[in-house]
Amino acid sequence: MSVQKFVLAMIGVLLAGGALAQDSVELTSSVYKQVLVEKDDGSTETQLVAADNVLPGDRLVFRNTIRNISAEPAESIVITNPIEEELVYVAGSAEGEGMAIEFSVDGGQSFAAANALRVVDNGIERPATTKDYTHVRWVMQTELAAGAEGTTSFAADVE
């Protein structure tokens, strides 16, 4: 390796490190288990509890919180969340205020609205089901002001 190439490589490393240190946003993920709780009056309500014991059939809620930690507004924000193969997305569960919600059925290579997704199954094209979803993403329609934060969430069942 020439000295010139080495120096360039080191600059690259430093730039990468600098970029990490200077992220303008931070993204925090959490997971909860959705349970049905009976109240004193006999009625029931769903509550989110810590996802401690997780069993097949359990419904989990994944939540992402994005916060702009810089002094500048952040734009074109897209949050992408994979849906593990052990999980099945719950139809209509994705939420994100001021965000367009799209899904992928090809491992995150392409995204579209839920009703536009199609898959080829044994040579036959059919509308995608939630079992086909591999990713969900939220496209923020506005910029995220300095110091502001936004939240996204979706629910999935453990197979």
Partner: protein, 381 residues
């Protein structure tokens, strides 16, 4: 046009049903295995001032799927198994179904039911306090081809006593072998339960319900109908045997068959025939019965009353042909009949005419009656 439309609608519905069935089968077959680690990490891309920034990953959220312990034990019988007292290796069948999200072992045991356990198959089928003997557990050699039906191979005596690695959503037959007791009242009910305890598929140790959550490890969550018994998961089902016993009654009667004067009275020189009637009102046959009768010292046992004067005891077994035996002091003819001067003992018969000396046991089938006749004479001196 309308017809075509209807046909299409029907086909569409049939297709929907087929899809529903397929989905149901898939739903039964899937279930994330315990120990599978599920991770979740989101990524954000964004711009600042119109310039793309390096993507930012969220923290990694991860959890381990725990073990849902759920299973059932189901008897295969539709009623008590009728069994004659003393019969060996009678059995009742069950199948155990693993409804958990992974392989499970099952340690198997049995319980002798007691009357307080209640009816097994409806009114009148409760255990009556009789136990079966030598109860053992045998597991089938293969799982049921159709889960939840018990249609797998019949377990054989001496087969495995535990269920090893039963996959999720599969079932396997289990048989309780037992020997019927030798003595019990006719109609007694001996109940057994098969008790299956969920066990670790690797160590075969009974699974304990996890008291608190341990991050990163497989916790056991009992979802079986009985929940935790102690701290383990046990499911049971009951079955039982209806025991058939012989119920013998014996009645003795007498009749003057001859006397010197034709008076029909028991005067000196008169011959009196005793008839011993043995009836079996039970549900099982009685075999190898033995009859003893103390002959009064004031009468004389007549040695040549039947069979052309060759026998002194006659049997009527309801076959249309009577049998005989010869009660002699030393039982020199080995036909099971002896008379030692005071006691007549009858434990065999001879079906041959003339007598051929075989010693045939005396049996009384369920519902049958056997009469035994012998004759005494009132001494003239």
């Amino acid at each position: 046009m309308k017809t075509v439309s209807k046909t299409f609608g029907l086909l569409a519905r049939l297709g929907a049903i087929a899809v529903a069935l397929l989905l149901a089968q898939q739903a039964m077959a899937v279930g994330t295995d315990p120990g599978v680690q599920v991770q979740n990490q989101a990524t954000v891309t964004y711009q600042v001032g119109g310039n793309n920034q390096a993507p930012v990953d969220s923290n990694l959220v991860e959890f381990v799927v725990d073990r849902r312990v759920d299973f059932t034990v189901t008897r295969m019988g539709t009623g008590l198994t009728t069994t004659v007292l003393g019969t060996s290796q009678v059995f009742v069948d069950f199948y155990v179904t693993n409804l958990s999200n992974g392989d499970l072992d099952f340690n198997l045991d049995f319980t002798q039911l007691v009357p307080g356990d209640g009816d097994i198959y409806g009114v009148g089928t409760a255990d009556t306090g009789v136990d079966m003997d030598n109860v053992t557990v045998s597991v089938s050699a293969a799982v049921d081809p159709t889960p939840g039906t018990g249609d797998g191979p019949a377990p054989v005596f001496g087969g495995p006593a535990i269920i090893d690695d039963l996959p999720e959503d599969q079932s396997i037959r289990v048989r309780l072998y037992a020997d019927a007791p030798a003595v019990a009242p006719n109609g007694a009910v001996a109940g057994l339960s098969l008790d299956a305890t969920a066990a670790d598929p690797t160590t075969t140790v009974d699974l304990q319900e996890s008291g608190s959550w341990t991050p990163g490890s497989i916790d056991n969550v009992f979802a079986n109908a009985s929940g935790a018994t102690g701290n383990v998961a046990i499911e049971s089902d009951n079955d039982g045997f209806l025991l058939q016993a012989a119920a013998l009654s014996i009645v003795k009667s007498q009749a003057v068959i001859s006397d010197p004067f034709g008076s029909g009275r028991a005067i000196p020189g008169a011959r009196i025939e005793y008839t011993i009637t043995i009836s079996n009102t039970g549900a099982a046959g009685a075999t190898s019965i033995s009859i003893s009768d103390l002959v009064d010292a004031d009468v004389t046992f007549v040695a040549d009353a039947y069979n052309g004067n060759a026998s002194n005891v006659e049997f009527d077994r309801g076959t249309g042909t009577n049998s005989f035996c010869l009660a002699d002091a030393a039982d020199g003819n080995s036909d099971g009949c002896t008379f030692d001067g005071t006691t007549l003992t009858i434990s065999g018969r001879d079906d041959s005419i003339p007598p051929a000396d075989p010693d045939v046991p005396i049996d009384v089938a369920a519902g049958a009656t056997v009469t035994v006749n012998f004759v005494v004479e009132v001494p003239t001196t």
